[in-house]
Amino acid sequence: MGLNKEQIARRIAQELKDGFYVNLGIGIPTLVANYIPEGVDVVLQSENGLLGMGPFPFEGEEDADLINAGKQTITTIPGSAFFDSAMSFGMIRAGKVDLTVLGAMEVADNGDIANWKIPGKMVKGMGGAMDLVAAAKNIIVAMQHTNPKGESKLLPKCTLPITGIKCVRKVVTDLGVFDITDEGFKLLEYAPGVTVDEIKAKTAGRLVIADDVKEITV
């Protein structure tokens, strides 16, 4: 049981507020754009140099000079702006981007994140992840709660090489929604069909349960 990828994206979309500038990473985070709540106006930032990212183009209207950070063809919308890579990371560094959503391999209960390198495997690089996690003021991680071996990805300490320290604010997994607090992961909401005990068993890092813990509605 638990949430599927679309539902994780849908739950994260509930965190969007009117007027937010948002950077969405590759994978589940990209899906968040499909569930922006009605009446909430957000501007999507693509770190290769675009604010105001529109939907994928219609067939035959693709433009090689217009892609997102995942190298997919995209479109502009009214109000879009292009800029160079230094300005793009400048606005991230200066705290102008309100929310960053990205995937992770591991998150520690103090907010450390690991998502760029597995020792012994081909290193593809960190891309913009280290810049984003170092500077963004509000970071939500979207990921599966456990790895394919069934081991917790919510840990007391990251075992993989770190991408950034003490930076994650919230984690949304297939099992629940967690804030990072001084006491560790704080379970705010659990997925339909998932028990708090199951979440306790599958969370290796420090875990506290919110007094008003409730079921996720998506």
């Binding site: 290769n48 693709e62 000079d65």
Partner: protein, 232 residues
Amino acid sequence: MKKVFAGADEAIHDIPSGATLMLGGFGLCGIPENCIAAIVKKGINNLTCISNNAGVDDFGIGLMLQQRQVKKMISSYVGENAEFERQMLSGELEVEMVPQGTLATRCMAAGYGMPAVFLLAGIGTEVAEGKEVRNFNGKDYLMEYAFDSDFAIVKAWKGDTQGNLIFNGTARNFSPLMAMAGKITIAEVEHLVPVGELDPNSIHVPGIYVHRIFEGKNYEKRIEQRTVRKKG
């Protein structure tokens, strides 16, 4: 002032083996296709390439890797290239991974005449190893040096005979920063126009930074991830 060259072969004629090159582009978007082809033809090697990505197996910097022309890559992400992976794992190719914003800002610093910048990215990670840390307002920052490059090679949408450049869409990415950073900057453009034809308000890189310019030919402008939606 003669900046206009006949083509890529002439514009890159004096790049020696062992040079450090900056190459503009994000993925395959906005890469200097004509200059890369000319470098492959010229056969120089031992190159150090500063570029966000390393192309794919049969396009972009991937073509230079196939000919074993690259000694070292300085990039933020190199995930789309099997030959790159083979050379890296066998030790033939030296690779330095730099966070993307740090890469951009180190180019920018060079173009603005700043020897170094202080950046948050990489604090507490292996990127910080061996680097000077300075604390400002209670936060630690890494000191990152401006890049030093012999040649910057970029592709723009339009340019004029004085070297003024305008980029198109997200093909801008690293190119203006690199254009400003090169000791010698070579710009290939889709449309080369007489001086006076470009609106001064629209110029992204003023010609003072550009030493050589030519109109490129036969742009393939390959799309890496063609993604579309259905009408209706």
